[in-house]
Symmetry: D2
Subunit: 337 residues, 4 copies
């Protein structure tokens, strides 16, 4: 951490500050310039509140040099975290495909889709039961019944299941769900994150619409600092000025998150683009950029889907995409060899 002092700082205040830092075990090296001096801090600065320093009258600015996240930081944990869910793994160097409908609608629908995506190569089934819809007048999901139907589909297909939680009170319902998803709108619902840190289950954490990489990793840190180390990061598009796509998938997030952190990174081409016809190109791109997985919306009848129909692939189109993904993954493997 580097503290830039204002011109001619008050001597008593400066000596107070330096005393306080030294008490915390921080070593200080001062650089005196013509117009401004800087203090270089050495030691465990993660516990120092950068805002508290900035509030001091003698301080012009503070710049952090170490990342504020520890447990999620690759520097502290150089090897990749590999997450196991029943027979599947995420983060072992392969491409794990999670597929399924936006919303669970009926037993027939979810079971049909589960069998179809499994046949095409998906190894995890997704399906929404609690839907965070921007309008109170839209379909809000089947809720508890949706979770039950998902479990039926797991029984039928053998695929582990992932579904989104939207409030701490729903936690008991998710006891037997394999992976719990935290949606983009709840990425900074810190009470929820703290609670998910206390359970022993993989969490699929989606990046908020306007969250920085650092904020996403700090949200992972909330979960991890509670004890739960099984976090999967998900890039699902950020909000920009462009209006022809729902969000803008930030492809660079994939290699950069993988360099900053040891956690697996998956991409969601369906929500980021909002249009089924763009999903194949963006999926192939994410695989080529090194994603550990993809989460893709698939519906047996998108025209009658109760939510997010326009971005869902038909089962047959998903099968074709999964095949193409296979060839790109093959090429990537060749690249590594």
């Amino acid at each position: 951490m580097v503290i830039i002092l204002k011109n001619n700082p008050d001597k008593a205040q400066l000596s107070n500050l330096m005393g306080w830092l030294e008490q915390k075990g921080i070593r200080i090296q001062e650089t005196t310039g013509v117009s401004r001096s800087i203090l270089g801090l050495v030691g465990d600065t993660a516990s120092i509140d950068i805002d508290a320093l900035r509030a001091l009258e003698i301080v012009e600015d503070v710049k952090r040099i170490q990342e504020p996240y520890r447990l999620a930081n690759r520097k502290m944990h150089p090897e990749n975290t590999v997450i196991r869910v029943r027979d599947t793994v995420i983060g072992d160097g392969g491409l794990t495909i999670i597929a399924g409908p936006c919303s669970v609608e009926s037993e027939e629908q979810i079971c049909k889709i589960a069998l179809s995506v499994k046949a095409s190569g998906a190894t995890i089934l997704r399906g929404g039961a609690f839907k965070p819809r921007s309008s109170p007048y839209s379909f809000q999901g089947l809720e508890a019944d949706g979770i039950k139907l998902l479990k039926k589909a797991r029984e039928v297909s053998g695929l582990p299941i992932v579904s989104e939680i939207t409030d701490t009170e729903q936690l008991p319902l998710f006891e037997d769900v394999d992976i719990i998803q935290v949606g983009a709108r709840n990425m900074q619902n810190f009470e929820l994150l703290k609670r998910l840190g206390k359970i022993d289950k993989p969490i699929l954490l989606k990046r908020g619409l306007s969250a920085t990489y650092e904020e996403l990793l700090m949200s992972a840190e909330y979960i991890m600092s509670g004890g739960n180390k099984q976090v999967i990061l998900c890039e699902r598009g950020i909000r920009t000025f462009e209006t022809q796509t729902r969000n803008t998938l930030d492809i660079t997030a994939i290699p950069i998150l993988k360099s900053l952190s040891h956690l697996p990174v998956v991409a969601d081409p369906s929500h980021s683009t909002g249009k089924a016809e763009l999903v194949p190109a963006v999926s192939l791109a994410a695989a080529a950029a090194g994603a550990d997985g993809l989460i893709i919306e698939v519906h047996n009848d998108p025209e009658h889907a109760l939510s997010d129909g326009p971005q869902s692939l038909k089962c047959e189109d998903f099968r074709l995409l999964a095949e193409k993904l296979g060839t790109v993954v093959g090429a990537m493997r060749q690249n590594k060899a």
Copy 2:
């Protein structure tokens, strides 16, 4: 609502769509162009899922003409909503000043500040007990104790109090709080909004960092559709590419939200700028733009504040600002006369 059809739409599908719409009581007028046809829909289209229409194979695009919010819409409720909290009102044409520290830290601190801001002209006291901090290692607020101390300060000063809720489970603690604040990060925590719709208490709803006006109004609609009509909208800055301020206060949000909705609109110059020295200019601007109120962070000792020190005004600086606001409000009143 206007549906733009693709070239040469399938006739059976088109007739299905038109039948389904007519069943819903929607009247349709078709405009046939050389390359594309459009359907104009007349009737109550708020219940039609725009995404479901977009998913149809024969549909190129759908454009909404009516706003998707009803209860928050000024067209449905032309007169201003005025909210009363003990002896204070928000939305009656005056400028209501809400002031206090970012976090409640001690009885002495909150009571001192309460008396000071009251003397300067504030009529509502703010203070955080549950703090949504981006780092799990930062001070998280005094929680239940913070609420107790706030009530003490209310007793001492006579000012009604506002504090932020961060989870549905905290609701019992807020029973005797005058106004409940929903923070920017929870603007789309829909489960929380639904619960707040069931109580009878004003809700101060902050705009999310990347929320559109429509999304903010839809979140208000979540609360209002549950029965609670007392919503105060708060512009607190949006996230942009500029890094020298914490967020970018969207000054135009004030007149535009007031034209779209009948709900009162307040501005938060402290969180949007993140720097105390910018708070006076931005506060004056918000008042001149027609805000119904301001929510300003004030601390008796910002250098030792446990959170957000750099953006807090000292009590004396707040007093000077409140005086200046008085002259601008006077000028605005003259303008209306």
Copy 3:
């Protein structure tokens, strides 16, 4: 400037770097941490290419502590720059109103508007002759004839004139124009800026749609480093995700630019909002935030304007706004006293 070194930097490379910096007259102070070392550089670092340092293998990151602009920097020039244009001044603490149509359309139109806005209190006339339109099929301005008509309006009204230049080749046409405007789209047209640095005439420099404060000030620096010190900065809205306004006026830009720089700052409420009904509230806000001036689009007949009609005030509405601005300016003056 602070250089953060990678872990265990190559010693020969480090000694090379330090030698090179010392040759440039930079003094270096090293802070050795457990995991990383930092170099504090003292001296004139503005001439050091930050990117060149970042490219070094031993360097992890470089953080600038001094602003990269010198001539535009208030630290180098504490008193306000006051710009005189015929009988008018900008930057002397008052509010200078620049008004006129988006495009010059005819002699009658521009002269009528000039007389009308003068009567209402404007002291500078604006009018576009070269229009940077996003479509090649839209009206592109009267070009040289537009400049001639503007001069006629100046003769008739006595108001100095400002008009936008869009290419270096147009410079001879602007010889007798009082203030040359550089539009948002040309804020980083550096060849144009260099040429404007060689003339002796005020330049109204508009902030680009996605330009940071620093980039705007660096563009001012381009003009000033050529010799022309008369630069007026203009906040005209930035591009954000919100679609209900054309752009988002960044009100905080006004106090922050005035603290970073000694140059006068004006605001453009017409282009930022894109809607005439929002112009009064945003104009009053900008005045209250401390703007040195406003540039407002006024048209005698917005319904028949050849460009940007929706954002133009009618002459009568402008007169009412100018009156209201007078009362706010009065209140602000009272605040200072």
Copy 4:
């Protein structure tokens, strides 16, 4: 085009509007709703100024249904545009690699790099002679001499050359340059675009930092409407709130621009990321997303590059990347087959 009328529009004004539209050959179909009426316009609406309509007192809003660009529109020109430059093509379904240094620095440097990138598989050489730098104190390029050295490198290597123009006055110097690049900052320098529309040479048009797809295509339309149909679109990253990368490469721009337009689309992973270590992953992603080409910065000695060193690949790293790209292109070809 659809016009949404205000409630109870003035009848005389409405009949005026309808008369004016019919005179322009537009057919009108009216849909009368309970609260609002809409007019559907059929015919060639590209020449109608949408802003002029919005300015009318009886009009609430206007929504465009047809894209405002014609010549760049795939609907008007379904087959791909293939651009030939000496022995190379762009847009024929393959992946054309453009490589070279950010700036031309010396004969030795540019010739060495040219031969090296050619050996690795690049078929076009890039090199900047006129550099649009954000600081007037940074290296501005070798200008005319840079162009001469580029031509030498073309002689030596046989590679066609591309370089950036920054002002209309430089045009004579580019007479013998194979492809002229328009940089992101000049994407809406319309005078420059108009002049480039009059010459017979491919133009590489980079997307502006905050330009929408439509604005990029309208800038292409400026060039094409002058007669020059050889435009190559380039996605080079947009400006977002994220600060750890220079810009955010919008990967979805590739499939969406290719569906909206018949022009070839290339991606620039070097400028978008600003960091050499991210270039390989993003390059592979762009290839997998269907880009027609890549423009990659390569330097023989990035540590001593006079500009943009941190984002330049070393020659050897470029060779490895080119190999990997070969395997991904192979996989993509297999996908199509």
